[in-house]
């Protein structure tokens, strides 16, 4: 089971970006940025173990792969490109060398090029949504992105912050938990899945969208696309080049396993039940 409190935040973000030319040829390329988080893939056959020093969980030797919500984000970006509504899809990831594998997966799905923002070692261990959104904001300005699509949250830390922070830093409108998005001229109609139901909003580009589960079903990489991905470029960038300080403002005090599940107690009558609940201070 996913235990958000104990999984170390392993953040790498894949971005692709959108252009506002919708169908008209543009002279300058305007890439689409989609966010994507790589996190520790939770496999129920691998027992997640807390590190002995209780500062996080063990990630050595655990296979990393693309965050499922980020896959949906990349799929949406590629769909926009196939509809000729955007010109270029750029996939971005922050992290150590191994995130290049995930960027390549995005390229194999159809993204045009990749950007690897190199963050490794101690910096990587403390990399969180705030730093990543700063990186994104800087990249968005540099690449002149018009649309950033991210997964709504990473399934290792469940932060659900990066999209919102990025929009705030850029002072862009945001459409989060998107289950549907439609580009209409320079406006984006987003249907959001919220607690109360479905909310439809219209936001102006440039904007940030975070993908929810029902936005689409990601495609399998086809063999020809995997071959083509080999030739696509992945640029290397350091956070310092973007003027971003990846120092964390958070200190992890401790990480623990959740308490062992205790056996329940069987009672004979409803009165007994109420009595037990009162004893436990639940009522």
């Amino acid at each position: 089971m996913h235990r958000s409190s104990e999984v170390k935040h392993v953040a790498s973000y894949l971005n692709t970006r959108g252009c506002e030319c919708f169908g008209q040829p543009c002279e300058s390329h305007c890439p689409v940025l989609t966010d994507r988080t790589i996190h520790v893939q939770l496999k129920t056959f691998i027992k997640i173990r807390v590190k002995p020093d209780r500062t996080g969980v063990v990630t050595d030797g655990v296979k990393h792969s693309m965050n499922p919500f980020c896959e949906i984000a990349v799929e949406e970006a590629i769909k926009l490109k196939e509809k000729k509504l955007v010109k270029e899809v750029v996939a971005v990831s922050c992290g150590p060398q191994q995130v290049q594998e995930t960027i390549r997966t995005a390229l194999a799905m159809g993204a045009d090029r990749g950007i690897h923002v190199e963050v490794s070692g101690k910096d990587y261990e403390t990399l969180g949504p705030l730093q990543v959104s700063k990186i994104f904001a800087a990249l968005a300005k540099k690449e002149q992105a018009d649309l950033i699509i991210l997964g709504k949250q990473a399934i290792d830390d469940d932060c659900n912050q990066t999209g919102q922070m990025t929009a705030a830093l850029l002072d862009w409108p945001q459409g989060t938990f998107a289950s549907e998005m439609t580009l209409e001229a320079d406006k984006l109609k987003v249907v959001r899945e919220v607690d109360g139901g479905l909310e439809t909003i219209k936001i102006k580009l440039p904007a940030v969208v975070t993908a929810d589960l029902r936005l689409n079903t990601p495609r399998y990489a086809t063999l020809p696309n995997i071959m083509k991905a080999k030739k696509k470029k992945i640029a290397n960038v350091k956070p310092a080049d973007l003027g971003v300080d990846v120092c964390s403002r958070l200190e992890v005090l401790k990480v623990d396993e959740p308490p062992q599940r205790q056996a329940g107690v069987k009672v004979e009558t409803v009165d007994d039940l109420v009595g037990k609940l009162k004893e436990a201070g639940r009522v």
Binding site: T44, E101, A108, L213, R219, Y220, A221, L223, I226, K230
Partner: protein, 411 residues
């Protein structure tokens, strides 16, 4: 006509999102394969896990050809891995193809053999021996998954004894007329074309056999009853009966009398596809057994703690790993255009014997649960058995290996 055979490519298949899917352990070899092959293997594994494994048992029960999945695999490029992009294929190498077949077979062995027969036995010889015109007509429509092909060499009277083909081909004007019966043809009930081997000059014995391309359906070509098999039941197997079957002269593949050579070379490559299928079946059986060993408790602990089970799992893993390396090596030799006949025979022999051994032991590890259809172990056992028989029996493989060894040591 060729143009009417061409269809626009179907959209790439999508997959259901299951962020908490129980995934199979990553195989350590992934670190040694080139990145391209790793990605390709992962994509096939994802597909097999999400789209094939959940339906494999039902396909087996219903003896149902997985048409939808074959089309999706076609859209992914998996039905024509080695075919160059100019002809509609994925343009990858044979190692990639072997990886694909293994991963797909891990999900569903029948789908694995359907993919293998189309790639190695049908597209393979046409790619190697066909004219440009034949390639366009007989390859391109068979790369998308919309159509599959088959390979008709065996007859009721000869399997291993391929040189004794009794199917005849006689020239009548500007046509060939084929007559005879072919047996054990995989895919035939679902195929749109076949490569048929027939004797053009009986006096030349095996040097008098030629290869022909026949569309299906076609007047003069009929299919026997679908065989009710022990395993790989989602793939159809039947006789092909040729009675006064007329085909244009241009449908001969390669030169007259070249048929036996074409068959043997095709089978050399085809047996790597079958080795890969056997590996997939074996791996699936090992997955089943190892998982059960963790969960099943007896004598107060998971049975994985017992040495009897541990020794079995070790032997199973060793058999698979050895066969896998042999398969990869043979594939790499073939890709490097080096001789690979002996290695391919070794790979097929090792992999098929590994498949039968591993699936047998997997049932043993599962005990009673291995014998019932609730668990896939029994299906792996049934699917594995054919790998020691088709595309060259284990006995023939031994002869091929021995002949090669003796040649190496010839004075």
């Amino acid at each position: 006509t060729p143009s009417s055979c061409l269809r626009p490519p179907s959209p790439p298949p999508t997959r259901a999102l299951t962020p908490r899917t129980r995934e199979l352990p990553p195989l350590p070899q992934l670190a040694e394969l080139p990145e391209l092959h790793q990605m390709m293997r992962q994509t096939c594994r994802d597909y097999a896990q999400k789209e094939l494994a959940p339906i494999a048992a039902q396909l087996d029960k219903d003896h149902k050809f997985p048409a939808k999945q074959v089309k999706e695999l076609g859209a992914m490029g998996v039905m024509a891995v080695e075919v160059p992009e100019s002809l509609g294929g994925a343009g990858m190498d044979y190692l990639a193809y072997c990886l694909a077949v293994e991963e797909l077979s891990r999900g569903c062995a029948s789908t694995g053999v359907i993919v293998s027969v189309n790639n190695s036995l049908y597209l393979g010889p046409i790619l190697k021996f066909g004219t440009e015109e034949q390639k366009k007509q007989w390859i391109t429509p068979f790369t998308t998954g919309e159509r599959v092909g088959c390979f008709a060499l065996s007859e009721p009277g000869n399997g291993s004894d391929a040189g004794a083909a009794s199917t005849l081909a006689q020239q009548e004007g500007d046509e060939w007329v084929l007559s005879g019966t072919k047996a054990w043809i995989t895919n035939c009930w679902d195929a749109s074309a076949t490569v048929v081997f027939a004797t053009t000059d009986k006096s030349l014995k095996h040097k008098g056999i030629s290869a022909f391309l026949v569309p299906m359906p076609h007047p003069g070509l009929s299919l026997g009853k679908k065989e009710d098999k022990l395993g790989i039941r989602a793939s159809s197997t039947a006789n092909i009966i040729l009675e006064d079957c007329h085909i244009p002269l241009g449908n001969m593949l390669g030169e007259r009398g070249m048929g036996f050579k074409i068959a043997m070379q095709t089978l050399d490559s085809g047996r790597l596809g079958i080795a890969a299928q056997a590996l997939g079946i074996a791996q699936a059986a090992l997955d089943c057994a190892a998982d059960y060993a963790h969960k099943r408790t007896a004598f107060g602990a998971p049975i994985g703690k017992l040495q009897a089970i541990q020794f079995k799992l070790a032997d199973m893993a060793l058999a698979i790993e050895s066969a896998r390396l042999l398969t990869w090596r043979a594939a790499m030799l073939r890709d490097a255009k080096k001789p690979f006949t002996k290695e391919a025979a070794m790979a097929k022999l090792a992999a098929s014997e590994a498949a039968t051994f591993v699936s047998h032991q997997a049932i043993q590890v599962l005990g009673g649960m291995g014998y019932v259809t609730d668990m896939p172990a029994e299906r792996h056992y049934r699917d594995a058995r054919i790998t020691e028989i088709y595309e060259g029996t284990s006995e023939i493989q031994r002869l091929v290996i021995a002949n090669n060894i003796l040649k190496e040591y010839q004075q």
